[in-house]
């Protein structure tokens, strides 16, 4: 199994998290730490780029659930972008598209934050 990597990029008023590899129960704490760090730094406009995310398990999905409430309470949001069909299917099965904004393209998501200002 390939490893999992979280990389953070800070743009203007928007933070982008790049995910790579397998997100499951073992690797979920890495993403949790990244979210916690952003919230601690009061960066609530978050885009998660799933371009290189090859798999996500239910524990991985749980990470998004754990932080969305805090982020939205602070007028921020977590938007998801660039998902492969397979990963989207997992999100979709669970009904995530109803709960999260999912975009094809990272720029589109960043643009949504900008437009709101």
């Amino acid at each position: 199994m390939s490893e999992f990597k979280v990389h953070q990029r800070d743009g203007e008023g928007v933070s982008v998290i790049d995910l790579k590899g397998y997100l499951d129960a073992h690797t979920a704490p890495d993403l949790e730490n990244a979210f916690q760090k952003l919230i601690d730094e009061k960066k609530f406009n978050i885009v998660v780029n799933c371009k290189d995310l090859s798999y996500i398990s239910s524990a991985g999905l749980g990470v998004f659930m754990a932080y969305i409430e805090d982020v939205r309470k602070n007028q921020g949001d977590i938007k998801l972008t660039n998902m492969s069909a397979k990963v989207y299917n997992v999100f979709d099965l669970l009904g995530f598209p109803i709960l999260y904004e999912i975009y094809k393209d990272e720029q589109e998501a960043v643009g949504k934050f900008a437009a709101r200002k």
């Binding site: 199994m1 390939s2 129960a25 398990s57 239910s58 524990a59 999905l61 749980g62 990470v63 659930m65 754990a66 409430e69 099965l93 669970l94 009904g95 109803i98 709960l99």
Partner: protein, 695 residues
Amino acid sequence: MSRLKKILFISGALVVFLTVYVVDVVRHTVSVDLEGALYLREGAIIGAFFLLYLFIRGERLGKPIAIPKSIGKLLMVSVLVILVGSMVVFFGRSPAGEGEGEPPYFAIVHLLSVVFGLTLGLFSINTLLTIKDLLLHKRRKGTKRNLVVYVVLLMCASVLSFPMMSGELPLAPTLLFAASVVMIVVNSFKQNWIVYLSRREKLYSIGYSALLFLAFIALNLLTTQSPVDQVISSFHYPLKTFAQLNAIFGAVYFGMAFISTLFHLPTAEVYERKQSELTSLHNLSRLVTQVFDFSDLVNTVTAMTLEVVGAKSAWLELIKERGANGQVAVEVVSNRNISHEMIEVITMDSESSLRRLVLDSKRALLIDDAGSDRRTRHIKKQGVSIGSLLSVPLVSQGEPIGFLHATKDFEFGFDQDDIDVMTTFADHVTIAIENSKLIEKSLKRERYQQEIMVAQQMQKRLLPQRLPYYACLDIAAVSEPSMEVGGDYYDFVKLDGDRLGVVVGDVSGKGVSAAFYMAEVKGIFQSISKLCASPRELLLRSNESLTESLERKAFISLLYGIIDMQKGTLTVARAGHCPMIYVSGLDARMVRPSGIGLGLTNDRMFEEATQETTLELRKDDLCIFYTDGINESRNHEGEEFGFDRLVQAALGSRFQSAENIKQTILTEIRNYTGDSSYGDDMTLVVIKWLGHLEA
């Protein structure tokens, strides 16, 4: 040696001596002179002494040699012999001696000489055997040889001392006597037994050997006294030389023993201490394997500390935690002859506390004079008095885990040896403590393991123990957790109006928390399924109950279907779960009404998203419920089994029984994954519609 043999030896010897005595008396009375008989008589006496030797050796055999005690016994016997000898001298010089020659008088005098000769012979043999034991204690290669040479010379010298033999070889007895004395001196240098005596035993040995030396000198003098000389000669001539040489041996040997014990006395204490150190370390290394009771272990450690370095008090501390600024929190786990308050005073935590000093150096700390040493001056101020103090760290894999302290009442109480021994001792203690902790840990783990096994049994009972039976349905089901306990769930519920509820669910995450949620889901499902008219309603009400109790990152996916056996329909609602696979003839498709996982969102959004769908069942239609462990099973390349393979497996086996279809799917998955173990819990429920109920 058997009892019978001993009795034979002693009685044989006594018979010989008695016969010799009787013959002597008769011979004297009748005055018969037979040259040959004389040789026979002396030979018989030598033989009888040999029998006595065998008897005494047999008596001593198998009894452990207690050294100062055996010398003490010899001393007692020697005093007795001297007393008898003195009596002989006294009576021998009495005027009555003038009347020698009268037969009745001769009988009495000769009896006395036989008895005395016998006593002296026995004593000489005993002396020789006692010295033999001392010589052979921690013997070297030549030790026994030297002794044997002496004994052979002794025998030859004794036998050749017959007056009638000396005629032919006048110098031989003298030469042999001289050679024996030389061997006596050679043998007397072997005094190895002294080294192994304790101080007390050495003191005894000094007394005994000094007295024995004097006793043997006295015996030597006695044997040369004319009455004794006469008495012995009249009984058995060789006995004189034999007794004399042995008396010389005794005098020389115990004289040497006296001197060497005297020289060994100053080292006695050192030797004793080394021995007790050795014993203690040996005991501890044995203790290392017996560490099931922690408090026993630490108490033994402090007790042994007192023993090993001869300390007044000792205590053992284990580090509980270390602060960032070097402060240490310790727990005194065992203390001897010292109160906790005193320990508090002595080790008072300050910038230069004893523990810090030991920690910084990671080596033993010695305070020779606690009263004036700057590091411990505070102790005296608090009214606690100690002379000297030794503290050693317990270091495990480079990390200090505790301290062992020992104190003495006087200054300069510990020397370099003590430090070395305490340091070695501390290493053993560390290993013992670590082992004890490891054992405790593994016992705890074993207990957890057992608890998990109980949980596994409990969880298995939460799944249906028997599948429901209906004439129009063929049902097969399986659920395998990937770990001991899992988060998968399936269940059936019999509803009114010939309806059957089927549910399959999956709790996010794994292990114990998932198992708890699964139990909660079962409770909710069983209690409200009969109250809900439709699958959708059940999901709505379940979400309501679960949103409250689930932690934020946890959620549950559920697929719930109700089969109406009168209408021949299946109504399905889905809460974020894998879609149902529906196979009808050659047509296979995913049934996927929209819906969100339970516990993800509030009721309004959930209600809006959740739909249900109804299928008209035809004969031999297949409905397959499963969890993502099925389609996400991976092969060695990390590729998933996927929905397509699942559907193909179902299509390929659609004419078979539900049980066979289930087996086919599992076999396909196993073939696909190979020996890579299942990554997730797997649950599979196969339902085949056999046709409408006959009215």
